[in-house]
Structures are given as C-alpha cells and as structure tokens.
C-alpha cells in the first residue's frame, strides 16, 4: 500500500532563515505530487505541483520554491523565511481516481 511521509512534523524558524521540508511517497511510481499550505480559515492553498522528476509548476508567486530530485521525493524550500510563511504545509499525491492522499503535514512557525 502507498504511504506518504513528511518531515519534520514541527519547525520553528527565525525570519530570514532558510527552509527545507521533505515529502516522500512509498508504494507508487511517478505520482503527481502537490504542496499545499493550510492557514486558519483559509482552507488549503495549492503552492506547487509536479508531474515528474524536475518538473515543477508554481501556483502562487512567493518566496518559496519546490524541487523534485527523485521520483518519489518532493522538497519545499525557501532561502529566507517571512513571517507570512507560517502555516501548516501538506504534501499530497494523486491516486488513480483523481483522489489526493495527504501526508501528516509540517507545522511551521516563523518568529
């Protein structure tokens, strides 16, 4: 069966510091992968999606970036965090019937 992992689970970072969040999927190959940010009262905002290694599409202009160095690995990064980057970050993969399956998420607090 497929599983999706995210780490770290929680992170507290100062403004201006770099960021790297990792997402890995097991049990499937060449999945579509997605990064979302969940902010209170605002639902889930799609940040990036990827249909394959090295293929990244950005949905929202911001100081975040994403990379997919391996088939089942999806990384969210920033060179300099802003206060507004605080939130709950979710990674998801797309199953056969268009259903998306979500990871446990990373709670990021920028101080």
């Amino acid at each position: 069966s497929q599983t999706i992992h995210q780490w770290p689970a929680t992170l507290v970072q100062p403004v201006g510091s770099p960021l790297s969040l990792e997402c890995t999927v097991e049990g499937t190959s060449n999945p579509n992968l997605y990064w979302y940010r969940q902010a209170a009262g605002r639902g889930l905002q799609l940040l990036f999606y990827s249909v394959g290694i090295g293929q990244i599409s950005s949905e929202v202009p911001q100081n975040l970036s994403a990379s997919r160095p391996q088939d089942r690995q999806f990384i969210l990064s920033s060179k300099k965090l802003l206060l507004s980057d605080s939130g709950f970050y979710l990674c998801a993969w797309r199953g056969k019937t268009d259903t998306q399956y979500f990871g446990p998420g990373t709670r990021l607090t920028v101080l």
Binding site: Y36, G41, R42, G43, L44, L90, D98, Q100, F102, G105
Partner: protein, 116 residues
C-alpha cells in the same frame, strides 16, 4: 477564476443533531467533487467523492452528499452526528480541463464541534 465557497466557518451542534454543510463552486464545466475531513491530530482524509452517475453519493461514517448541477452545489449531510464527528471539513473541486493535472481547489473549511 474558479472558486469554492463553504458557507459556514464554524458549526456547533449537539450529538444526534443533523448536520448539513454547504459547498458551492464557480465553474461551468464538468467537475469532480470531494469532501475531505481532518480529525484532530490526524491526516486529511477523503470522506466521499462524486465523479458521475447518481448525484447522491455516500461516504464513510454515515456521511452523504448531493450534487446539484443547476445550483453548482455539493452539500454534505449526516442525519445524526456523534461526538467523534468533531473535525474540520473541506470541500474540494477538480475541474476537468486538459491542463488541470489533477489539481484540486479547496474551500476554506468548516470547523464542526459536536457537544455531548
């Protein structure tokens, strides 16, 4: 641009009460519709989905939703809630365009609290 609206941000109700959460979307073409649920401390998980066919779909834990195309709505219902239904509920829409790449657009979510 497409949007998904959930009418209630917070709902508080007693056990055994009936629940209905509204969801409307703005897109004139064919859509796939989803309801996801996030229980406290757990992953976001699929509750039910509609792709085609019978507009009344049944999901896990006694939930159902009805797709009304003319109203662009996909409301979620449960006849009798339990304390364990306390969670945040998200409506999501996937538009069937050639370049959608499976992207989902989510509503803002509804926090449901069921009191004993």
């Amino acid at each position: 641009a497409q949007s998904v609206s959930q009418h209630n941000h917070h709902v508080i109700l007693s056990e055994a009460a009936s629940l209905e959460l509204g969801c409307n979307y703005s897109y004139g073409g064919t859509v796939n519709l989803f309801w996801y649920v996030q229980y406290p401390g757990q992953h976001l998980q699929l509750l039910l989905k509609y792709f085609s066919g019978d507009p009344l779909v049944k999901g896990i834990k006694g939930f159902e939703a009805e797709f009304i195309k003319s109203k662009f709505s996909f409301n979620l219902r449960k006849p009798s809630v339990q304390w364990s239904d306390t969670a945040e509920y998200f409506c999501a829409v996937k538009t069937l365009t050639t370049d959608s790449w499976g992207k989902l657009q989510f509503g803002a979510g509804t926090q449901v609290v069921v009191t004993p």
